[in-house]
């Protein structure tokens, strides 16, 4: 794709749009701050868009995009003060190497939907309140007259159940270079 024509550009955008959730999850894992991951994702998108002419469609798009996301996360770390960084360099690289880069974001989200449907009603409702309703753990705790730590533990268990259900989609299929 040396000279991006409209059709190959459209294909590129489809590929990029289709893996946003996976790039976001990857950056969240590396940076441990979802707010920072959102900014790093935007920067990654921008870099990928600038590099559109360098992408070789014969090569897997996922690996190519993840490599740039990795560089952007590294660049992000360099710009931050030390007290803002959560992980040291070794942990950062270990997390990156263990993150499964292969797989389809669409099937992953579809599988997530199926697994949410299999959660017990109480857990599903809690997950929806936290993630769809955007309620904080403290707000849910106040409404339910429970300790925030109890709500945090319930959410932790719900996410664990979802991960168990998603199974193969979470198996390490090869890390990010």
């Amino acid at each position: 794709m040396n000279i991006p024509d409209p059709e190959s550009t459209a294909h590129f955008v489809q590929l990029l749009t289709g893996m946003q959730s996976r790039l976001y999850a990857y950056l969240c894992t590396l940076l441990a701050r979802p707010e920072d991951a959102r900014d790093a994702l935007q920067e990654t998108n921008l870099v990928l868009w600038k590099k559109v002419s360098e992408y070789d469609p014969k090569r897997p798009f996922e690996a190519w995009a993840f490599r740039f996301a990795h560089f952007q996360a590294l660049a992000w770390r360099k710009r931050q003060s030390r007290d803002r960084l959560v992980f040291d360099d070794t942990t950062f690289e270990a997390l990156s190497a263990e993150f499964p880069s292969a797989g389809s974001a669409e099937s992953e989200l579809r599988r997530l939907e199926e697994c949410l449907g299999k959660l017990p009603e109480k857990q599903r409702a809690l997950v929806e309140r936290r993630y769809s309703g955007g309620e904080s753990v403290n707000l849910i705790a106040e409404v339910e007259s429970k300790a925030p730590n109890a709500i945090a533990a319930l959410l932790y268990r719900a996410r664990k159940m979802l991960a168990d259900c998603m199974g193969a989609w979470f198996a390490a299929e090869g890390g990010v270079a």
């Binding site: 409209p6 749009t17 935007q42 868009w49 936290r130 993630y131 309703g133 904080s136």
Partner: protein
């Protein structure tokens, strides 16, 4: 897990103390099993946030409610960065146009009159959108600004850039990206398509926000039919006044607990805003579609008091609302809740604030004084519009057409926290109207 779960939750919410963050990092660095557990938990957290359509929304931070719920464009303080993101978004829009139906190229342009225009930049050199100007377009691509137009069908369509809308005919549009608000008046059947759904107006004012992550549909007046591509039985869902739904990219229908409103009708967004970071109650199930409306700075003369009525807050006399209440952040509640005896409304304050309650009866429910609210000895009025049993009309001035008097109670909330409010009445008698909720910032 007992210690790790709350620690992880604090990290996810970005409210961990430096000491907690240090403990967290040491645990992850020294324990490979825990590192995998963290990676699994964080990945689920990220995917669930993505699924809930909250990634782009939160990325807008304290920006005005107007937003495009996508992770691609974000206004940055750096002009260069903003322009670069704008270029990226423009590129995506161009591709989206290329991918979109060719139907629009073969339809005649839709004629419209510009009713409102603030900072409007139209793509493709389509001319200036001055108030009163006539335009004829097949595609309305708004790069920036707020535009409100009236089609010859009588439908009023508003949008805030960036937004791209294909105009199929004066009664049918397709939102490719961005947020629109439509006031169809009596023109029943006005149809709005997105990639995920079709919304058919039944005589109403409603909004649609479309992005790569799905579509939000919000009804401010009247009712609409929502056709979901992935609905279980394929039948359209009817949404009434004060109801909203988020249809995620994967097809799931999700509740929207609250909507933040801006100064113009087009400036709404999902979530809360201003002093209120969240509001919810114990009555609405996850499948319920009613939403609270949060209006930062919204307490003014003749502002709507409830989500499900056209009643308005007013001062009792010509002098208007008390000075200290003017411009307060307002939560529009449901007047249908006025007889509930087990209602609990929880509001979360993002900043130190004075929280106000407007109560129509004395003595108030016992929880009011137990929670620490004090009667200020000040009263405001409710100008009632039509309701299921009465055919009243509202007026547009303070001290006129006041049907009900409310006393103002206050509570100082010195730290950001959630405050639980009780039911409007505690037995068969008591309040005849649901209470109002407002807040003003507390001076440091």
């Amino acid at each position: 897990m007992s210690d790790f779960a709350p620690l992880l939750e604090a990290v996810l919410a970005d409210r961990a103390t430096p000491e907690e963050r240090e403990t967290f990092a040491v645990q992850i660095a020294s324990d490979a099993a825990l590192r995998r557990e963290y990676a699994m938990q964080m990945k689920l957290h990220a995917l669930l946030e993505w699924r809930g359509g909250r990634v782009g929304a939160r990325a807008m931070g304290d920006a005005p409610p107007a937003k495009n719920v996508t992770a691609f464009p974000k206004q940055d303080s750096s002009r260069g960065s903003w322009l670069a993101m704008a270029a990226l978004f423009a590129g995506l829009c161009a591709v989206a146009a290329l991918l979109s139906s060719r139907e629009v190229k073969h339809t005649p342009p839709v004629a419209m009159e510009v009713l409102h225009s603030t900072g409007v930049v139209l793509a493709g050199g389509k001319g200036e959108a001055r108030v009163g100007a006539r335009l004829a377009l097949r595609t309305l691509e708004l790069r920036a600004g707020l535009l409100r137009v009236r089609f010859d069908s009588g439908v009023i369509l508003g949008a805030e850039g960036p937004a791209k809308i294909e105009l199929l005919n004066p009664m049918h549009v397709r939102v490719l990206s961005g947020r629109i608000t439509a006031d169809a008046g009596d023109a029943h059947g006005f149809t709005v398509d997105t990639a995920r759904t079709r919304v058919v107006d039944l005589g109403t004012r409603f909004g649609v926000d479309a992005s790569a992550m799905g579509a939000d549909v919000v009804v401010f007046d009247g009712a609409v039919e929502v056709h979901g591509r992935h609905s279980e039985d394929g039948t359209p869902q009817r949404l009434g006044q004060g109801e909203a739904v988020r249809i995620a990219a994967a097809g799931a229908w999700m509740p929207i607990m609250s909507i933040a409103a801006g100064p113009e009708p087009e400036q709404w967004s999902t979530g809360a805003g201003g002093l209120f970071s969240a509001v919810r109650d114990n009555r609405r199930t996850p499948d319920a579609m009613k939403f609270y409306q949060v209006v930062p700075g919204g307490l003014r003369e003749d502002t709507r008091a409830y989500v499900d009525r056209t009643h308005e807050w007013n001062g009792l006399a010509a002098a208007g609302l008390p000075e200290f209440l003017r411009g307060a952040d307002l939560i529009r509640t449901f007047n249908d809740d006025k007889r509930e005896t087990d209602l609990e409304v929880t509001v979360e304050l993002a900043k130190p604030a004075t929280l106000y309650l407007f109560l129509d009866k004395k003595p108030p429910p016992s929880w009011v004084t137990t929670a620490g609210f004090a009667d200020l000895g000040v009263k405001i009025g409710l100008d009632e519009g039509p309701s299921p049993n009465r055919t009243l009309t509202t007026a547009t001035a303070p001290g006129v057409s006041i049907e009900r008097v409310f006393s103002v109670w206050s509570l100082e909330v010195r730290e950001p926290r959630a405050v639980k409010l009780g039911p409007p009445r505690e037995g068969p008698t008591g309040a005849k109207a649901m209470y109002g909720i407002a807040a003003q910032p507390l001076a440091p």
